[in-house]
């Protein structure tokens, strides 16, 4: 199956603050096929969350604005759709879950009403039918006492439960794409295992495509089919999950993989990437990773490499490989 459900080309999202223009996303290309899980990996400030907000067009209340590029979803150009049409897509065809299950639920509404709202809005269910649907969804995400929980308020539930509620809400209209922005970062390990298990199950049963944004490479290895690595507002490497972990090409991806301690590997000393993540207002010229890269060449400090295909399904933004390509050609 090679149907591209979502295709982002050259997306640029800038933030306009009083200290000037900040390019948070600066030319992102990626796509998600139907039914696949794409992991977006990167450190804070790399633009991974802003990319997802751009897809959902949820930048209205931030100083951010998409300034260039296109986002195509199931044949539609999301950036040129009117807001009314976008509202139909949001929550219905593309749903989103956030990092903080505590703050994503409105504390003054009952659980049932919050999930039911989306169902009644998008699927045009009446109140009774919506309630049945909500209970069915709660059972699906493994919430015990679903009939009672519908009438409870968010603060009566634990963090893991709330994230389940968020997933139930997101899945209630059977979206084609689920965007999960660090869905398990705020949760404990044993609860994270429950939630990841649930997401995997839902994906297999319903064929929902997932865009999983995370900084945790362990989560990526367990959940994803393909991986996009972002650095400083750009995609630096894209490959399937096996290639990323076994044959990483970009020095940043390599550094990232070497710098995490792994259970039972008994590494005496971790390799680390020197320096700090550059801040948007303070970007180096040329390749954004060059100042921290041990392979940096002169050309890296002057020119920005392109994201080029280096093997089937494997793209990388690095001059180390582009010279090889040039020689072959």
């Amino acid at each position: 199956m090679d149907n591209k459900l979502l295709e982002i080309e050259n997306l640029k999202t800038y933030f306009f603050t009083d200290s000037g223009r900040v390019p948070a996303v600066n030319g992102v290309d990626l796509f998600i096929r139907e039914g696949e899980t794409l992991g977006i990996v990167g450190e804070s400030g790399c633009g991974k969350s802003v990319t997802s907000l751009s897809v959902m067009r949820l930048l209205a209340h931030t100083p951010g604005r998409v300034v260039d590029g296109s986002i195509r979803f199931a044949g539609m150009d999301l950036l040129s759709l009117p807001e009314s049409k976008m509202r139909e897509i949001r929550g219905n065809e593309i749903a989103m879950i956030f990092q903080e299950p505590m703050t994503s639920l409105n504390p003054v509404y009952k659980i049932g009403d919050q999930i039911g709202e989306a169902v009644r809005l998008h699927l045009k269910y009446d109140k009774k039918k919506a309630r049945e649907r909500v209970i069915q969804m709660l059972k699906l995400v493994g919430i015990p006492r679903a009939e009672e929980i519908v009438d409870e308020y968010p603060h009566q539930l634990s963090g893991g439960m709330r994230q389940r509620i968020m997933i139930a809400m997101a899945m209630s209209c059977e979206p084609k794409l689920l965007i999960a922005d660090e869905p398990t970062t705020a949760l404990d390990v044993t609860i994270q295992a429950q939630i990841l298990d649930l997401m995997r199950k839902l994906k297999e049963e319903r064929g929902t495509a997932i865009m999983l944004i995370t900084h945790d490479l362990g989560v990526v290895a367990e959940m994803c089919d393909r991986v996009v690595v972002m650095y400083a507002g750009k995609v630096v490497e894209e490959a399937d999950v096996f290639d990323i972990f076994e044959n990483p090409k970009h020095p940043y991806t390599q550094g990232l993989l070497h710098s995490i301690p792994k259970l039972r590997r008994k590494t005496e000393r971790l390799q680390s990437i020197p320096g700090n993540v550059p801040t948007p207002g303070n970007m180096p010229s040329g390749c954004k990773f060059a100042p921290r890269c041990s392979h940096a060449m002169d050309v890296c400090r002057e020119q920005e490499p392109d994201l080029l295909q280096i093997a089937s399904g494997h793209r990388c933004r690095c001059f180390l490989y582009q010279n090889d390509l040039a020689k072959e050609a």
Partner: protein, 302 residues
């Protein structure tokens, strides 16, 4: 580009090359404050008032006290810009001399109140328990009186006079500052850097004055500025009622009071002192608003 502003050292450290100027808290504040046009104008006006209050007696065209019976209740003319009062004294000169009195009363009373209130607030917030209860109940009692009534009560005990006005206004400023400082002390006490200071063994006194007090300073400054306006107003009201400055002192409130008999025939006698009070209080409030916007950490840009 700042010619590749970082360099990786052999041991893996990254060192910025350009020695960019340090962004101190003050420069941050100034950057934000500059944007508040109205507040900057108000600030300039207040600086002007201070200059006038310093050099006032040397620039007044006429004496503020000596009567001139040839020019009684003259309307504004080129000779007397704001006209003259019932004793023929030049109102413009009197207002200029009165600036010193009003600013002095406003400033000292709020200063005394702020120092007392800040001290009580810090202690109350930091130590909590019974210390907190005692101080806050004391403040509640003061809050239970309307401000001006409290001031009148205090003056009734101490007797009329400008010094007593200062004391009265100071006393009812205390609980306001105590509350503000207490609430920011409570939130600062819970911050991790205060815990870090405890973990290195800093004494309570050091924690209060080095770590907590600087954090409360911004709200103190904002409130201080705003309170000066209110205090000037209160002092003027008390003088208007005859409880503060006594004639022939050119205090604005007292001038207002002396003009009320001629409100129909010579409105300028009350108008100009009233306008001076209005402008001064407005300026302090605008400055306070601007300071709040520039100092409030919650308004920081993303």
């Amino acid at each position: 580009m700042a010619n590749n502003s970082v360099v990786v050292q052999p041991d893996g450290r990254v060192v910025p090359q350009d020695a960019e100027k340090a962004r101190t808290p003050f420069s941050e504040f100034w950057r934000k404050f500059k944007k508040q046009r109205l507040a900057v104008v108000a600030g300039c006006f207040i600086i002007l008032l201070f200059i006038i209050s310093l050099i006032g007696p040397y620039i007044t065209p006429y004496s503020a006290i000596e009567p001139d019976y040839d020019n009684i209740l003259s309307p504004p003319t080129l000779k007397h810009l704001a006209g003259t009062d019932a004793y023929g004294r030049d109102i413009f000169s009197r207002i200029i001399e009165g600036t010193r009195i009003s600013l002095f009363v406003g400033l000292t009373s709020v200063l005394v109140g702020a120092i007392g209130g800040t001290f009580l607030g810090l202690i109350s917030g930091f130590y909590g328990k019974w210390v907190d209860s005692v101080i806050m109940r004391f403040c509640d009692v003061l809050f239970a009186f309307p401000g001006i009534l409290l001031a009148i009560g205090i003056i009734a005990i101490l007797g009329p006079g400008l010094e007593n006005v200062i004391i009265a206004v100071a006393i009812f400023s205390i609980p306001i500052f105590a509350r503000i400082v207490r609430s920011s002390t409570l939130s600062l006490k819970a911050t991790m850097y205060v815990e870090a200071a405890r973990s290195i063994g800093a004494s309570p006194r050091r924690i209060i004055f080095k770590h907590i007090f600087p954090g409360t300073l911004s709200s103190i400054i904002v409130y201080f500025t705003m309170r000066i306006g209110t205090s000037i107003l209160t002092a003027a009201s008390l003088s208007f009622l005859g409880l503060g400055a006594q004639p022939p002192s050119p205090e604005w409130g007292a001038m207002l009071s002396s003009g009320r008999d001629f409100l129909n025939t010579a409105p300028h006698v009350t108008f100009f002192p009233g306008f001076a009070i209005f402008l001064t209080v407005l300026a302090f409030n605008l400055l306070g608003d601007g300071l709040r916007d520039a100092l409030d950490p919650k308004m920081k840009d993303e």
